[in-house]
Symmetry: C2
Subunit: 110 residues, 2 copies
DNA sequence: ATAACATTACACCTTATGGTGTAATGTATT
DNA sequence: AATACATTACACCATAAGGTGTAATGTTAT
C-alpha cells in the first residue's frame, strides 16, 4: 500500500509545532507567504522548508500569483491521520465503558 | 501549554512505520521484547530505540519481569492526536456538505 | 560458579531536520 | 533599464533518527 508512505509524510509534517501553527493559520483561509511567515520567529528560509514538508505531505498547495505565492490548506490530507487514530479510539472508550460498568455494579449492590 | 510537547512526541513517535506496526501489535495485548521484535527485519538494538521513543511519548510501558521485559500499550496517549485532528474534521465534512448541496441545487434546476 | 539468555549501553555511521546567512531568480514598479 | 520586492536555492552547521556491531549488564539455569 502506498498510502502508508503518505501517512508517514503527513504525520512527520504535523509533528512540528511550527507546522501545526501554520496549518492552524491556514484553516482560516489561504495566506500569502510573508503574512504566513510573519508570526514565526525564524528566517523566511526556514518557513520555506516547513512549507516544502507540508507540501510533500499534501497538506498545502502553493499558487504563484505574480511575484507572490498564495498558500492554501488541503485538509483532506489529514483524513489519513483521522482514519488511523480512529482504529484506536475504541481502546479508551472501552476503558471508559468498563469504568462506567464498574460504577453501575457498585450502585446496584448498594 | 505543556501538552504541546507531548503531542509533538506522540506524533513523531507514530510517524515511523515500524513504530506504528509495534503499536498495532501491542493493541492485541502486551508482548515480550523478543516476540515483539521478531517480525521486524532490524537488529534488536534498533527495536530498543523505537521503544524508547514510544516510551517518551507515553505510548508504551515497560515492565521488567525477571530477565525479560513485558511491553504494553498505553493507548490513551493517542487521545491527544485524536483531539488535535478532530479540530480539522469539519473541513472535509464541510466540503462534502458543499458538494452535496451543489448536487441538490443541480437536481432542483432540472 | 559458570554458562546461557534477554536486554540495553556504547561507539560509530548515514541521512534527515531545522536553522542560519548570502546569493540567485523572477516579477513589479519607476 | 534600473531598482525594489518576494521567494527560493545554495552552502553551511548542529542535532536527532535510524541503523549497525560489539561490549556490558543483569537473570536464570546447569
Amino acid at each position: 500500500m502506498y498510502s502508508m508512505e503518505q501517512l508517514t509524510h503527513v504525520l512527520s509534517a504535523i509533528s512540528h509545532p511550527t507546522r501545526r501553527a501554520i496549518i492552524k493559520r491556514l484553516a482560516n483561509g489561504p495566506a500569502g507567504f510573508l503574512d504566513l511567515a510573519e508570526p514565526f520567529d525564524v528566517a523566511l528560509n526556514a518557513v520555506t522548508k516547513h512549507l516544502k514538508l507540508l507540501e510533500r505531505a499534501g497538506l498545502i498547495e502553493r499558487e504563484k500569483q505574480g511575484r507572490e505565492v498564495l498558500i492554501s490548506l488541503r485538509p483532506e490530507a489529514l483524513r489519513l491521520v483521522s482514519v488511523w487514530v480512529h482504529e484506536y479510539e475504541r481502546f479508551w472508550s472501552e476503558k471508559l465503558d468498563r469504568f462506567a460498568g464498574y460504577f453501575k455494579q457498585q450502585n446496584r449492590s448498594k
